[in-house]
């Protein structure tokens, strides 16, 4: 997927674990894992809103677009 997810970097900068983020945004750890590893096919605005609120960031800091194969999987 040419859309890259930078959740790992953001969590590292905020000194937060995925489990802590999961508890604070009210999204299951399994779903956040799917997002973090770039396996998600879509993201709800409500999810993006909750993550941005907790991590105090903009959607563009979580997601970026890069030139690439749309079928390619993986995170940044």
């Amino acid at each position: 997927m040419p859309v890259r997810v930078h959740l790992d970097d953001l969590l590292h900068r905020r000194r937060l674990s995925l489990t802590e983020l999961s508890e604070r945004v009210g999204i299951t750890l399994a779903n956040l894992s799917i997002l973090k590893t770039g396996k998600a096919k879509a993201i709800r605005f409500s999810t993006l809103d909750a993550i941005c609120r907790v991590l105090d960031c903009q959607p563009g800091e979580i997601l970026t677009w890069v030139e690439g194969d749309p079928d390619e999987e993986g995170e940044a």
Binding site: L32, K41, R44, T47
Partner: protein, 185 residues
């Protein structure tokens, strides 16, 4: 995808139990349907093996002038129609039981369900066509003067055919939406 036990409390468990019983009932009916088909074939065989006593019985009942052999052949054809309706009924009951199983497992929009409902639609159409054939045959039997159970076309049966095909489209659309939702966070 969430299972039935995860998503609800007692009501959901009751519904799951109800669906499980429905599924079992459908599988039981499928077996009974095949047994009826075998019975119909045995009946046809019996009309050949015991043709003489059968003809004698019809002659006693309807008189010597009655077209006994015509009656016997028409009864055999009715038996054959009864046996042949077993297959489309089976193609209704088994896919319906599989559909119930997918609902019980919390996957009503399993992509296979659209195909199952389409199969049911074609089977219902076949049942209706065989019903019309049995109606024609019943009228032919009645014309010979034999006692027959009356026949009427089933309006509800004919309506169920397009309903099944429309439901198949609904299931197909549901499966597509479900696939879209999978992987959405």
């Amino acid at each position: 995808m969430t299972g039935p036990v995860e998503t609800g409390g007692r009501d959901m468990r009751d519904e799951t139990r109800l669906v499980r019983w429905g599924e079992r009932a459908l599988r039981g009916l499928a077996v009974a349907n095949i047994a009826l088909g075998v019975a119909a074939l045995l009946f046809i065989l019996g009309t050949f093996l015991f043709q003489q006593p059968f003809a004698a019985h019809l002659m006693r009942k309807y008189g010597a002038a009655a077209p006994v052999m015509t009656m016997i052949w028409e009864v055999r054809l009715l038996g054959l129609l009864s046996a042949s309706v077993v297959w489309p009924i089976d193609r209704c009951l088994r896919p319906l039981a599989d559909l119930a199983a997918s609902v019980r497992l919390g996957q009503p929009f399993d992509p296979a369900n659209a195909g199952r409902v389409t199969t049911i639609g074609w089977a219902l159409l076949a049942i209706q066509c065989l019903d019309v054939a049995s109606g024609v045959l019943t009228m032919m039997v009645a014309r010979t003067g034999a006692d027959v159970v009356g026949w009427q076309p089933s309006l509800a049966g004919w309506i169920s055919v397009p309903v099944a095909f429309v439901l198949a489209r609904v299931f197909a659309a549901g499966a597509r939406l479900d696939a879209d939702l999978e992987g959405t966070v």
